[in-house]
């Protein structure tokens, strides 16, 4: 029995390949925000993604929300982009290769709670997701 918000942040059956007119761009999946209320994207302090245990270069990751796409390094400035608690963010991995067969995806991000603690020190929580996916080519 744990907090209601302590979920696997990677949504089930959300992994899809990104193939544009026959050319492989990479793959994408959906994640949730693990809190009772939404947050400004600037509150995300770190974001790490592993594919089959190997860290994905953050320059290949696009964090997509509110109809826009951002690089991980851009998140810290996005105080005007709000992640509504019922919405999923799409994580696009522009690795140039679609996924085939079975793969392990692991996500871990941290975020500060903007109304806890003041004068530069805030409570930081984590969202963690882990899924094994099988994609039939």
């Amino acid at each position: 029995m744990a907090s209601a918000f302590d979920i696997n942040v990677i949504e089930e059956e959300s992994v899809e390949n990104l193939v544009y007119e026959g050319i492989e761009g990479g793959f994408q999946f959906r994640i949730r925000f693990t809190a009772y209320r939404g947050s400004h994207l600037s509150c995300i302090e770190s974001f790490q993604l592993k594919l089959d245990g190997k860290e994905v270069d953050k320059a290949q990751i696009r964090f997509c929300l509110n109809g826009k796409e951002f690089l991980i390094d851009q998140l810290k400035d996005l105080y005007q982009e709000y992640w509504f608690i019922q919405d999923s963010a799409i994580i696009k991995v522009m690795s140039g290769e679609a996924l085939r067969g079975t793969h392990q995806i692991d996500v871990r991000y941290s975020f500060r709670i903007p109304y806890t603690g003041y004068f530069g020190s805030y409570m930081v929580q984590e969202g963690i997701g882990s899924r094994s996916v099988t994609i039939c080519a």
Binding site: Y36, R37, S42, F84, I85, R112, P114
Partner: protein, 319 residues
Amino acid sequence: MIDLSVSLYSFSIKFFDRSYDLEQCVKKAHELGFKGVEIVAAQMIENYPNPTDEWCEWLKGILKKYDMQPLSYSAYIDMGQHTGRDLTEDEIIQCTLNDIIFAHRLGFPIVRTQHAISPAILEKMIPYAKKWGVWIGVELHAPHNCQVGVWKEYFNLFERVGSDYIGVVPDMGIFQEHPHKLFQTAALESGFTSSQVEGSIADFESGMGQAALVEKWSVKKRRQLDVIETMYETFHEAALEDFDIMIPHSRYIHGKFYYINEEEKDTCIPYEKIIKKIKELGFEGHIAAEYEGHFSDGTVDCVEQLGRYSRMMHRLIGE
């Protein structure tokens, strides 16, 4: 006259897992016998912090459809929304003004805010509250009580300028006498044995400090340290006499609860004594049910809990 309302925050689990949308929360609030609603803006408002005109009209229609009074627009001071710095005074004023305007547009007479607004900025908000016809209530939440420094400043302010436009929203969690059942279950889940849970609660209640307790029970695991920290942060029992200070400046109370048992009793927060006390003091206004068991146990049915709370409170208020 004491009315019983509900904070839609109580449905957090169902809103988060998408089994309820906002309309279903309002509908259920009506079915459970509550009069009005609080909305936590940062949780349930689409396009927060700037909902569209269409959305505002839609919400007003939903509240009318289920005959629910708009009561409190629950706002935040998101001090840490910018990376590397806190909000400036201008930003706090403008985001609170934004909340005031949306509360007005949606018909909510109360804006609940957080103590981080500071007494000085709250005083500057009075002309805005007057103009837009809202009352700004600062939530007094655990681990605070009326003796905490910043609250002494707030009550000095209310004494000086009155509480027609600003005041306090007492959260009943401050009167919690004993860590609740769901907290104890979470403590067991973190790896404590039941005798360790009982022993550490007894030590905590006898006044042992956090560091001494951690050492005595050799708490080392991160999850267990978190449990101990939560106990110290959450379960500070304020004296019922604090109501003597709060009630003259309050028109809205947060009816926090974590678990109501099958006999429809709260064994942690002394609601019988609370209702008796606020009646004696002549409190007039709404108490909004605020279920918060979801942080300890996501499997408990919040609707069942709200039903038990509603029946318990209607009984106590009617007595």
